[in-house]
Symmetry: C2
Amino acid sequence: MSLKEVANQLVALCREGKNLEAVETLYSPDVVSVEAAPVPGMEQTMKGIDAVKGKNKWWIDSHEVHGGDVKGPFPHGEDRFAVYFEFDVTPKGTGKRMQMNEVGLYTVKNDKITKEEYFYSMEG
Amino acid sequence: MSLKEVANQLVALCREGKNLEAVETLYSPDVVSVEAAPVPGMEQTMKGIDAVKGKNKWWIDSHEVHGGDVKGPFPHGEDRFAVYFEFDVTPKGTGKRMQMNEVGLYTVKNDKITKEEYFYSMEG
């Protein structure tokens, strides 16, 4: 697969809410996942596909998703692409509906996503 | 200035269409600017604030801007932030109105933007 194909598949699966399937099919076993900033109770940097699947499952289980939007993919050079996400969610912990916007930056090597870095403001 | 202040100023100036002022006030003299892919007639990577100002002037002169949107900034870690841009423009060369979406990825060192990388699809 080309960078473009990996990117298009990721965006298509995210649009369908199939984020876990995206990790299983498109991510390297050694993927590194980096959040925007340290979060209490969570490692900012996680390594390995099992840790990333765990983080995805936690997010899915702890948020009610009302809607959202996915823009992209936006490629750059031979091995990276970005995606812009909007989420309309209620975290189950707070019960307070909120809008979350973020940019995901993905690095691809040998047709697999080897790194995901999330860009967002902690101020909501 | 903190990363957040540099990022907020960049977004505020871009929202006002003052991109050239953003370069003049927020960019390092040694800034590196990288487009998503090689473009005929333009270097993919430009170095130095004068080259980047020239590219900005070229863009402003060759596009009629009808509107747009700027989302962000979205910080990550100590030294990077992303911005999501939408433009509604007519390139004067084609006269054909089009929508352009892209992600800008910015690296900040010593309170100045030292690198800008643009992520977009060449397919429009």
